[in-house]
């Protein structure tokens, strides 16, 4: 069964390097939401719901007071403290709209890392508690280390090359050169620069890792019925999925399917619900925490077998606007701006509307896959009306 919801508005603030935003995180959230509501041709008082993810600091009570809303009929977040919830936050809004719990839901993410510090940064203390004892004691501390461990095994198991990791970074930077919003606009990246950049945690070079940024992005989701009367071409949510395989929630790399990006079940479910296959997708946004997990996510979503990933990403195949499957066409987390991946949702909607700075031709289906390597995974598929 498909939901009844469509994206009717999108908005984003200017994007900044970490700590350079002149506005607070809450001010950024308000600005992005105002822009998305205006883009839809709605008023703030029409909004009656919020969803977000990653334990948003900008709670619905404070937001609704500041935005002068008449009612908050629905507010929710998926579990978890990671980018794996990007698409899930849209899925929850889709479900709520389809169930009639709210009429116009804002889905958003805002962050000002200068104001609040790096999200999830490990701090040294004398003791590692709980399950961190099994990892932090050995110097396994950050998401980079976790994803590096997954990626090393993936590369070993399937013969994946360092150049395939590079392709993800190169595509993001190439696309950012077309996008004036992008932090890396005017700063192209060559393959030589990629390989010469310093190591962070092998197999990740500097350019395999997403940067730290400040900004906010938001969308408005309404019923497809109401969407017809609004300002923009509505972008229906064709399908969404969360997924996590058997015992894949086992900790510190004891999931039976390791190395996994936690997207196998996500992929199976979303294609089944949508009634299409990966071949029917013209453009995709894959959350890049690090390049390696993106490669894993491409295979687990069913675009190719792991043994085929080197060829799948080579030769400009993932570069837009003319590649076989352009990915991260705004520059993504790596080169547009890291708003914990929500900027990818806005870009996926733009691709259906025909408004991308790297516009792919004849987009019927536009996919977003959330943060790989953290569970549960999620994805959302937009379609032409």
């Amino acid at each position: 069964m498909q939901g009844q919801a469509a994206v009717v508005g999108i908005g984003e603030t200017d994007y900044y390097k970490r700590g350079e935003s002149p506005k607070t995180e809450f001010q950024l959230a308000s600005e992005a939401i105002n822009k998305a509501v205006a883009d839809a041709g709605l008023k703030l008082e029409d909004i009656d719901g919020f969803t977000s993810y990653m334990e948003s600091r900008n709670d619905p009570g404070r937001l609704s007071a500041a935005l002068g809303m008449k009612n908050v009929a629905f507010a929710a977040q998926p579990w978890g403290g990671g980018g794996n919830g990007v698409a899930a936050s849209v899925a929850i809004a889709d479900a709520a709209i389809s169930a009639g719990y709210a009429k116009n839901i804002v889905v958003f993410r805002a962050l000002a890392q200068g104001q609040f510090g790096r999200f999830g940064q490990s701090k040294a203390s004398n003791y590692a508690h709980g399950n961190r004892a099994y990892s932090a004691v050995y110097g396994m501390l950050s998401p980079a280390h976790i994803c590096a461990m997954q990626t090393t095994r993936f590369m070993h198991q399937y013969g994946v090359s360092q150049d395939s990791l590079a392709e993800i970074a190169l595509a993001a930077h190439a696309h950012a050169q077309l996008n004036p919003r992008a932090i890396r606009y005017g700063k192209p990246l060559s393959r030589e620069e990629y390989h010469a950049s310093r190591w962070i945690a092998k197999p990740f070079h500097l350019y395999d890792c997403c940067p730290e940024n400040d900004g906010a992005t938001a969308i408005v989701i309404s019923t497809r019925e109401q969407a017809k009367d609004l300002k923009q071409t509505p972008v229906p949510i064709l399908a969404a999925a969360q997924g996590l395989g058997k015992r894949d929630g086992a900790l510190i790399f004891n999931e039976p399917s390791f190395p996994t990006s936690f997207n196998r079940e996500v992929g199976q479910q979303i294609w089944q619900r949508a009634g299409i296959t990966p071949k029917d997708v013209q453009v995709a946004q894959f959350y890049e925490n690090f390049t390696g997990p993106v490669l894993m996510a491409i295979t687990e979503m069913g675009f190719c077998e792991p043994e085929e990933i080197n060829e799948f990403v080579a030769d400009g195949n993932i570069q837009g606007p003319d590649g076989k499957l352009p990915i991260n066409t705004s520059g993504g987390n790596l080169a547009e701006c890291y708003i914990h991946g929500f900027e990818l949702i806005n870009e996926a909607v733009r691709q259906v509307r025909g408004q991308s700075t790297c516009q792919v031709k004849d987009v019927e289906h536009s996919l977003v896959v959330s943060g790989p390597g953290f569970s549960p995974g999620s994805a959302v598929l937009f379609s032409r009306d």
Partner: protein
């Protein structure tokens, strides 16, 4: 043996679930008394039968490097003097599905490779604050 990470680095906060792992001087894995399932890290409920009574299964201390990373960028900055260091993921010979994080203590970080055979060694540390003798499992590459 000298600690692989710096002397001042974090220690495991010992509790009833991890005491055997970090103090016994053996590689000990949680085993469900009802169904015999082994699992790591220790959990409050058995993943196979949802039992809640557990014992500990001693393992040979032999394993294979299943994956690894070499950390070059220090987090936090105070590890600047320690990088590069290698973190390894060991698949136990006795229970290949069980994977344990550790360090390869006897070779350079860049010499670590998937498939190397390892054997458990233990860093004995007196944690005077917690009044416990830790025997932190670590690994030596043997081939």
């Amino acid at each position: 043996m000298q600690r692989y990470m710096p002397d001042w680095w974090v220690l495991p906060a010992i509790n009833d679930q991890n005491r055997e792992f970090f103090t016994s001087g053996e590689i000990k894995i949680q085993q469900c008394e009802a169904c015999g399932q082994v699992q790591h890290p220790p959990e409050e409920v058995c993943h196979q039968c949802q039992g809640i009574v557990f014992d500990w299964r001693s393992c040979s201390g032999e394993g294979t490097i299943f994956s690894h990373t070499v950390v070059e960028h220090p987090i936090p900055n105070s590890l600047q003097e320690r990088v590069p260091y290698a973190v390894i993921l060991v698949s136990l010979t006795d229970y290949p599905a069980i994977r344990i994080i550790g360090n390869a203590t006897n070779i350079d970080a860049d010499k670590v490779a998937v498939g190397q055979k390892v054997r458990a060694v233990f860093e004995v540390i007196e944690d005077e604050q917690a009044k416990v003798t830790l025997k932190i499992p670590q690994w030596e590459v043997i081939s």
